[in-house]
Symmetry: C2
Subunit: 450 residues, 2 copies
């Protein structure tokens, strides 16, 4: 087949066909499109058009498209259906992890109404149970669709079970092996089942070496476990090790990307996940908190400097090097805190042996501080600034660099110790506090030496 590019031209043509209700052409087009592509077209349709296009898709594709939609588009779209329709046309056919994502965006009342219309009571109970787990835990990430076989069966019985469950489980990642009480025993690959004789007992070919996690494990741990062991799916068990679901790698990929974006935005001083295409007011609100922190920091700096206005009047040159001191304090602080935050996020460091880390960071900063101070002194000799001032600035620079390194290292480690997200300590927060302390140190040294 030729690959279809979803560009402006394609979308325009598609919308024109929707407008003309050319259902035959559209059905054929939709069959060739992936849910992720249809999602992009949906972003451009109005409610009535979207409902019409949905009616042209088969059930599997319809629910996959719904799962792909952005929450706000999905909310708007579902307004075209009442609770009963939502339950019967969508939720009951969805993978449970996707269904829970949709349900959790509804009000509690709507969600329980939708659930009451689901004909299969077991399914509706399972979804109710999943809804209780927080978003960023294994329980919130997992789905119930999996193939499991009893350890006492043979390959033929196992194949029969896969046939029975095949309708419900679209993509088979691994076949899980459980005992009579549904306790996880191990796994067996489809390849092994395919290549084994029909009479072979599962007990002979399954692998009891299996990674699993409990429902309450947090998303970060799930992601690093799956990344470390190159897993495509991870079985999730309850406290009695009974198999209740699985997390798949595609959800983990999304999770990893979202977490990385969040850290990046935190470091940039943006307080919530935003995109360029969000509305002006949303963008503005996401950015304002850090700006106001910066503003307060700036006002506090002005008060600190105000204490030294005598020194400033005598040596106006001192003011000239304030930006240098501030910039260096900020840069060093961000560098130090980022290395720590990233190390904590990747679990390559733990928060014990704090003194070892502080010592190392101080050594790195001492080297860099000495290099920078030496360059500055060299510049001072050729610049025509007074030697006294340049000496003060160089000494203050070294002191500020060392202090900024200590703060940049210690603050995220301390936050982590108290179970607060250390990423809070990167970006504007560390820059602002280092500005303040750096300037104070600078003027104190100036006051003492001049």
């Amino acid at each position: 087949m030729e690959d279809i590019r979803i560009d402006k031209e394609f979308t325009t043509e598609f919308i024109a066909e929707v407008h003309d209700r050319r259902s035959d052409v559209l059905i054929e087009r939709l069959e060739r499109l992936y849910p992720a592509d249809i999602k992009e077209i949906f972003d451009e349709l109005d409610l009535e058009q979207a409902v019409y296009v949905t009616s042209l898709m088969d059930i599997d594709k319809k629910v996959e498209v719904l799962a792909e939609l952005e929450p706000d588009v999905r909310k708007r779209f579902l307004e075209g259906f009442d609770e009963e329709q939502t339950a019967l046309e969508f939720i009951q056919h969805m993978d449970s992890d996707d269904a829970v994502d949709v349900l959790s965006e509804l009000s509690a009342e709507e969600a329980s109404q939708v659930l009451s219309y689901i004909p299969d009571k077991e399914q509706s109970l399972f979804l109710t149970r999943l809804l209780r787990y927080p978003d960023d835990t294994a329980g919130g990430l997992m789905g119930g669709e999996l193939i499991k076989v009893n350890v006492k069966w043979n390959v033929a019985e196992c194949t029969e079970e896969i046939r029975k469950q095949a309708e419900e489980v679209a993509r088979v990642y691994t076949v899980y092996v459980v005992d009579d009480s549904n306790v996880l025993q191990g796994w067996v690959s489809l390849k092994k089942i395919l290549l084994a004789k029909e009479k072979t007992p599962i007990a002979d070919i399954y692998d009891d070496n299996i990674k699993y996690a409990s429902v309450s494990t947090n998303g970060d741990e799930i992601a690093s476990l799956m990344k470390k062991y190159d897993l495509i799916a991870l079985p999730i068990v309850d406290s009695l090790k009974r198999l209740i679901g699985r997390v798949t790698i595609d959800d983990v990929v999304d999770f990893i990307k979202e977490e990385a974006d969040k850290d990046f935005q935190m470091l940039s001083g943006i307080s919530q996940s935003v995109e360029m295409k969000d509305r002006v007011w949303v963008l503005s609100r996401a950015r304002l908190p850090w700006l106001i922190i910066g503003l307060i920091g700036g006002v506090m700096s002005s008060v600190v400097i105000g204490q030294f206005d005598g020194e400033l009047k005598e040596n106006v040159q001192l003011a000239m090097f304030m930006p240098l001191i501030m910039a260096m304090a900020g840069n060093i602080g961000v560098q130090s805190s980022s290395i720590i935050v990233q190390g904590l996020a990747n679990s390559s460091i733990s928060s014990d042996s704090v003194f070892g880390k502080l010592g190392k960071e101080l050594l790195v900063s001492l080297i860099n501080g000495l290099v920078c101070s030496a360059i500055l002194l060299g510049y001072g000799l050729i610049s025509g600034n007074s030697n006294d001032i340049m000496t003060v600035v160089s000494i203050a620079l070294l002191a500020v660099i060392l202090l900024a390194a200590v703060i940049g290292t210690a603050v995220p480690l301390a936050l982590d110790r108290f179970k607060i997200d250390p990423a809070l300590a990167t970006g504007p927060f560390i820059t602002t506090s280092n500005d303040l302390i750096g300037l104070f140190l600078y003027f104190m040294i100036g006051k003492l030496m001049l």
Copy 2:
């Protein structure tokens, strides 16, 4: 099985057993451990111990452990083997993508020597070919291990082929369907093969709707393709659409994480990938370039301020609000550039319609600027600073915020247009240039108004 935790205690015990050459205990332990766990133990072993432990593992595990090791640990480890041993004991048994990773870390001469010892000439030719692709392209990420079947075959022939290739292909992601000329036609899932009758022609059950990419596609595109379409493996074709390899999701997960870490470090002003555990000199060198840029920026600021020393002497209060102006210019610049850089990385924006984006960014900044200036004026009324100064600072703040937003938006878009990594424009670079321009604007406004 009980899950084994690789903690300090476990490692100490393990090393003691290595010391005592307790091969029976060690063999049993190694069988229960995943390659990613053994990798962690290897980080603690010396060369002679590592070679001994390697001799206790079966071939599959041995090569997987080698693939897991960090490049520097691997380099040290391979010094325990000559080129012939490296070829026969490791490379020839490795997945081709892992083998290429190892070979690319050797000198060109060593690599070609190792390749000459590989008995299977076809394999050694394929590896030579893979070595030519850059690291961050599909060619550099892909491996050749895959199951492919001819579209003319039936299910029984297909099963036979899987049996033949099973030894070589450890994990079957998808079965690819090709024609007589090896041109990719589509795919069929193991589930479908398992559930179909033996005589069923593959042509009846395969799916011709398949995503693929060419060898030269870059890693970012591969990652976003696999993420968007929830793919576990992506077939890679040459210019004639002949199937030559596949990229698997575990490599893409690593790629996504590495890229995110790189962007994060760029934003923090760290010029290369470093970790807390790297040596002091490495850490120092990675951070020095941006510090020196900050230093030069600071010196340039001092020159700019020097031009206004008349104004400063007259109004020392002007100096008090320099930090505020600088901090806000820096924060706004980092926020604007980060949103753009992240949008470009996630392909949610393209670099056309530059003016639309600039306009939106200006609007967001105008709102935030007005809010911040209003707060500052309010503070001015109660702070006892002169009203003239506070008016100057508030007006300058608004002007600087707008200018910083323009620079923060325009610079990464411009870099992207010229095919330079826009992430270069985040962090210290944007902060430093905004400091300079912001201060200049501040003093100009002060000079005109006071």
